[in-house]
Symmetry: C2
Subunit: 405 residues, 2 copies
Amino acid sequence: MINSRRRFVKDIGLAAAGLAILRPDQLFAAATADRKVRLGFIGTGFRGEGHVALALRRADTEVVAICDVDERMLERTTNVIKKSGKPMPKIFTGDNYAYRQLLEMKDLDGVIIATPWEWHAPMILDALAAGIKYIGTEVILGITLQDHWDVVKAVEHNKAHVMMLENVCYRRDVMAVLNMVRQNVFGEIVHVQGGYQHDLRGIKFNDGKNPPGVGVEFGEKAFSEAHWRTEHSVHRNGDLYPTHGIGPVAMMIDINRGNRFVSLCSFSSKTRGLHDYILSKGGANHPSAKVNFSLGDVVTTNIKCANGETILLQHDTNLPRPYSLGFRVQGTKGLWMDVNSSIYVEGVSKDDEWDAAQAWYDKYDHPMWKRWSKDTQGAGHGGRASACSNHARELSSSEDRWAGR
Amino acid sequence: MINSRRRFVKDIGLAAAGLAILRPDQLFAAATADRKVRLGFIGTGFRGEGHVALALRRADTEVVAICDVDERMLERTTNVIKKSGKPMPKIFTGDNYAYRQLLEMKDLDGVIIATPWEWHAPMILDALAAGIKYIGTEVILGITLQDHWDVVKAVEHNKAHVMMLENVCYRRDVMAVLNMVRQNVFGEIVHVQGGYQHDLRGIKFNDGKNPPGVGVEFGEKAFSEAHWRTEHSVHRNGDLYPTHGIGPVAMMIDINRGNRFVSLCSFSSKTRGLHDYILSKGGANHPSAKVNFSLGDVVTTNIKCANGETILLQHDTNLPRPYSLGFRVQGTKGLWMDVNSSIYVEGVSKDDEWDAAQAWYDKYDHPMWKRWSKDTQGAGHGGRASACSNHARELSSSEDRWAGR
């Protein structure tokens, strides 16, 4: 019982879930447990603050520790905690390794890591070394292939659980489509697509005070994500943030449950968007205008799977565009397209015509969505993502039935 | 004058156009020319018949020869010619090489080839060897890389012109978007997509009598395209038919006009659709059910261009789905998506919202569309494709202005 109570999700692979919505009365299965689940939070930037706020909504969790190096961010989060009326946790700050003191606390059940990407792998590894068995990370496990191998090996060695908190896996339409896949509505799945297509120019730059869309600073002079995230666009070229796309579709084709990725190939377009943005907002004489960005504006990746499916991923965060994760789930009987919210199922839809997807979503609402969604109202994330760790746990458990397929 | 009069399109590359609509009163520029343009047609299947019918609509062309090995197809086409009231052309038939007698006619200005794909390269090469300077082909030039090199070298050696008759280049929305690209509405183009996503199962199989959707025969026992096209799905795996997608987008990024393809990588999904179709329509005991198809149901190809753009192509012809060529044209200021008929342009469209594309199409209707479209009414191709060789010629001429970019 303790085991299942503490359980996040069994697989570190891609059985990802977000914590964007926490059902307030119970985080883990055993509502009858003798004590609350004690959580520590490393990183209390905007995203970490959100995680703390959600944990505070629950009756079965305690926020026992928080850690950040940025005083402003800590202050915001402690204000949230004060307002909740719950006890103030231990606060760790100072240098970049203050989180190690948090990990030394003896009675932590789990930690949530919401820090710059380059810190995920070392923090996960340190948490595992400190004996923590349940770790959630926002979102990727590391930034190199070696990071990921290091994490996988350490998790297995420590018999621990690391979960990528991929909230899109718990979007209502995505869960409905997963349910349709399981019920064979699309037939045998042969091809899937997803991506991260989101104009992040206003996130990658700011003026050091206001996060969204003002100023063209990044790095030392910038605030929030522009403080660290933009460096990845300077020095790296590739799909920097694949989980919004790959998380949901990987579940649909049983990755790490009888299927696996076999090979991939990425193509990257020229890079223009970030430099153009600097010119238009800061002018040609701004120091940022001298920076050469590595990240191509549109990065397209194909993946071949052991069971024969192909996956197409796209990463597109430097250009003006409406938000779209670009999902497509295609099988022998029909397909779903996210961009036009459409579904076609042979023999049901009119010949050669898309159905508006909403009626299909309504009909195939995931059982866990139906069961928990009322409890999570008000805990959403921009209307785009919603998740519940109950869902994650139950989904993982119900998904185990498919492991042999 | 003779030169420009006879001109189809200067480049054999990808300055493709269809002949699906021929403006009736003039095929070439010089309406004052002293004689009509004399055309021969190799292949009078459904597609070739359509080309003949369109040529018959014009006052400045003569259909002087037709050739096919299938008596039924020749009969259909001769009936069309009879109804037109125009003179009956010479008819060549018999064995597979009857077309060589057609090519020996002394006064042919050009030939249109609408035969099985595997015959395109040999017929083009034979036509060039016979001294024909203007050749249109429906659509691809050959089926191997060597075929294409052979054609390119022969065309250059003979100072001749071979045009892929890609009708989608002349779809109204596609031409409007090309016009938008030229007018810099999308800024600098960084990524484009297209494809051929069309449920062809009913085309790849029939019962030997009725072409669309009845029966699961192919090859010897089948009729029309199922007689030859399906063999390519048995023996080949790849993007078998890229021009619907690549033709339009290649023009938009100046391929062979200062830009070129540099490298590509294709991924192919498992193959299920054709076998499933045979099972559902013909049962497990039908001989076709024993065939192993090579062609993956969804083939996805990335291409990198010399000027830094990426191209994504998809070929998806074995599965039930609504028709969609899947265009996307994305630049530094905005993008067009075909599947949801949407356009986004920064500073014009509402933040993070798609515009319905129609108003943009109306505003940016291509000048050649505006000039010629009334003359071509009734000559369309399923509402999807429409083209005019006038458009092809003029577009080619106006596009030359961009050659140095």
